[in-house]
């Protein structure tokens, strides 16, 4: 479902020297598989996740996700592809600051065109957010933001779930809820790629891939 072949990425920055964040990396996640990705800080985990999510064109290498090669698509088609096939939980959550929890979960529906409030409310309950439905992210705890981001990633019922340290800010109980949800997602045939530093999270995954600094 996720297939990265010989993928490299080099950040070009006008200020400093170029940064080789990912070097000739292969990564495969089959449908129904839950893969954990770990490695030291700055080894390129987030970069790899963005590449897999159709958000960052790699400098070289082949990327196939959910049967498509996102970087062979136009920008608009890639956006549509993301809306349709990919759920992304960002390391910094990236919630829309002026939307409340419910609207944040519903936000992907602007792209897909179908608004399913009941589904959004069910996701809210699932992640214990029903009492915070009408608060904006600024009023939420870090854990609540993380769970809102998770609910938003699941809203469009994607084929691929990419999660950047989804349990990083959670207590073990809440972390367990998230991990169970990821396992359930994989069990239904989805592919999960999760970046983590925690053993608890790695144990929940089917496989763990450890990256080293390029």
């Amino acid at each position: 479902m996720i297939q990265l072949d010989h993928v490299s990425h080099q950040y070009r920055s006008p200020e400093g020297p170029d940064v080789l964040a990912v070097d000739q990396t292969d990564l495969h996640v089959k449908a129904g598989e839950f893969l954990a990705l770990r490695g030291p800080s700055g080894c390129g985990k987030t970069t790899l996740l963005l590449i897999a999510g159709g958000l960052l064109r790699p400098t070289s290498g082949e990327v196939t996700v959910a049967g498509k090669q996102p970087y062979h698509l136009s920008q608009e088609a890639r956006a549509a592809f993301r809306a349709e096939s990919i759920g992304f939980v960002f390391q910094q959550f990236h919630l829309v600051p002026y939307l409340d929890v419910l609207d944040n979960i519903l936000a992907p529906s602007a792209a897909s065109g179908t608004t399913d409030r009941q589904r959004a409310e069910a996701l809210m309950r699932e992640f214990g957010l029903e009492t915070r439905a009408h608060h904006t992210p600024a009023a939420l705890s870090t854990g609540e933001r993380q769970r809102t981001a998770m609910a938003r990633a699941l809203y469009n019922d994607p084929q691929v779930l990419l999660a950047d340290e989804p349990t990083g800010n959670l207590d073990p109980d809440n972390a367990a809820i998230i991990l169970e949800r990821l396992q359930a997602f994989a069990a239904k045939g989805g592919a999960v790629l999760m970046v983590t530093h925690e053993d608890q999270a790695c144990r929940a995954a089917d496989k763990t891939l450890t990256l080293s600094k390029p």
């Binding site: 960052l56 809306a83 919630l95 829309v96 002026y98 529906s109 602007a110 792209a111 469009n156």
Partner: protein, 419 residues
């Protein structure tokens, strides 16, 4: 979820930003509305002032004309209507008219629909010597005053009738014979009382004696006959003697009309001058008002775009800073799959809301301000409403368009990795 939902949530979330933007648009719109209203009111005022001036100039012109008419009366009449068989050479040579025509002619002329002539004066005139005053040569002038022209409004008579038993005496005669008002004299055996004496005119008038026409006719043995009709043509501009002649001889076939020459021309010129000076003063006023107006237009032409550009810049700046704030939000929306068209829609939707609300407030504000400044409510026309409103919305949209396009084109991943 629809795009306008994002727009409204964002407006509500960043209230201050929205209010400031609305204020900027309102002020620019108010400026424009007001400028348009002021110009319109000014145009109306200019017209009113000019109409007033025009009327005043007309009136002054008419008064001047009237004065000129009176002043130039002494210069003589334009046209003299004579019996057809009168030898003109004889008349010019001897200064007397030997042929006569029925006095009834003047009535016929007065009752005709003659348009070229304004004043008719039947006369008898004869050069003679005054036996009772040492045979001093005089010109005897019999006049009955003006014959009113039937189809005209009565005009002020140029010459008053001399009553029976009275005489008016020219300057030289009066001086030589020591005649004053109320002096009693005898002329050809008839008693007369001097009605008044004229000031010096430097013409044959100075040796003329004016008496009542009827009396003169009796004294000269020419009852119901006259020598000439003095006709004064009033529409003096240009040479109309040919037309006057034709008109007169058509009505009175037994006559000839001759022009009196230089004095008539002088009068015509004087009247033309009066008219020209009135017109010059009017056109000077028109030019002055136009200059004032074009100055105001110039000021408005500078101020209005300045206010508009100022508010556009402010809008643009605010959107730009807003866009910077919202870069991450744009990246997020792009990451979860919104098209760039949709992202743009969120920004332009906001601009539209701000533009429309700002325009409404601005127009109301501008109208209220205009009413206060002008103390009169000139109803603003469609232009004064549509132009500022359209401009406000346009400016708001444009102010958002460029930064929003730039933001929507940003690489989402780059922004998302910034913290």
């Amino acid at each position: 979820m629809r795009i306008w939902h994002f727009v409204l949530r964002e407006l509500k979330h960043r209230k201050l930003n929205a209010l400031l933007a609305i204020a900027a648009v309102s002020v620019a719109t108010a400026c424009l509305t007001d400028a348009l209203m002021l110009l319109k009111a000014d145009a109306a005022a200019t017209e009113a002032v000019l109409a007033e001036k025009h009327a005043a100039v007309e009136k002054a012109g008419a008064e001047l004309n009237d004065a000129m008419r009176k002043i130039t009366k002494g210069l003589g009449f334009n046209v003299v209507i004579l019996p057809k068989d009168q030898d003109l050479q004889e008349m010019h040579h001897s200064g007397t008219i030997s042929k006569s025509m029925p006095e009834e002619y003047v009535v016929r002329l007065a009752n005709s629909n003659i348009v070229t002539v304004n004043h008719l004066l039947p006369t008898v005139t004869k050069k003679l010597t005054w036996p009772e005053q040492g045979d001093i040569p005089i010109v005897l002038y019999g006049t009955r005053g003006e014959v009113p022209i039937a189809h005209r409004d009565p005009k002020k008579p140029l010459l008053d009738a001399v009553p029976r038993g009275s005489m008016i005496v020219g300057y030289h005669l009066a001086k030589k014979l020591d005649l004053r008002t109320d002096t009693e004299v005898t002329l050809l055996g008839r008693p007369f009382k001097v009605l008044k004496t004229h000031d010096e005119r430097g013409t044959v008038d100075d040796t003329t004696v004016w008496i009542n026409l009827r009396e003169a006719q009796e004294m000269l043995g020419m009852e119901n006959l006259i020598h000439a009709i003095q006709a004064l043509e009033c529409h003096c501009a240009g040479d109309r003697i040919t037309q006057i002649r034709e008109e007169i001889t058509a009505i009175l076939p037994g006559t000839q009309a001759i022009e009196r020459g230089a004095p008539a021309l002088a009068r015509a010129e004087a009247r033309d001058k009066a008219k020209i000076s009135a017109e010059t003063s009017l056109s000077r006023e028109v030019a002055h008002r136009q200059q004032l107006r074009s100055q105001r237009e110039k000021v408005a032409a500078i101020l209005v775009p300045l206010a508009t550009i100022g508010s556009a810049l402010l809008m643009g700046l605010m959107t730009l800073t807003n866009v910077r704030q919202r870069r991450q939000e744009i990246a997020i929306l792009r990451a979860i799959g919104l098209r760039s068209r949709q992202v743009l829609g969120i920004f332009l939707g906001k601009a539209l809301v701000i533009g429309v609300i700002g325009a409404l407030i601005g127009i109301i504000l501008g109208m209220a301000l205009g009413a206060v400044l002008h103390e009169e409510t000139t109803a603003p026309d469609a232009l004064a409403i549509l132009l500022p409103a359209g401009l406000a919305v346009g400016v708001a949209l444009l102010g958002s368009w460029l930064p929003a396009v730039a933001a929507a084109r940003q690489d989402a991943a780059t922004v998302l990795q910034e913290e």
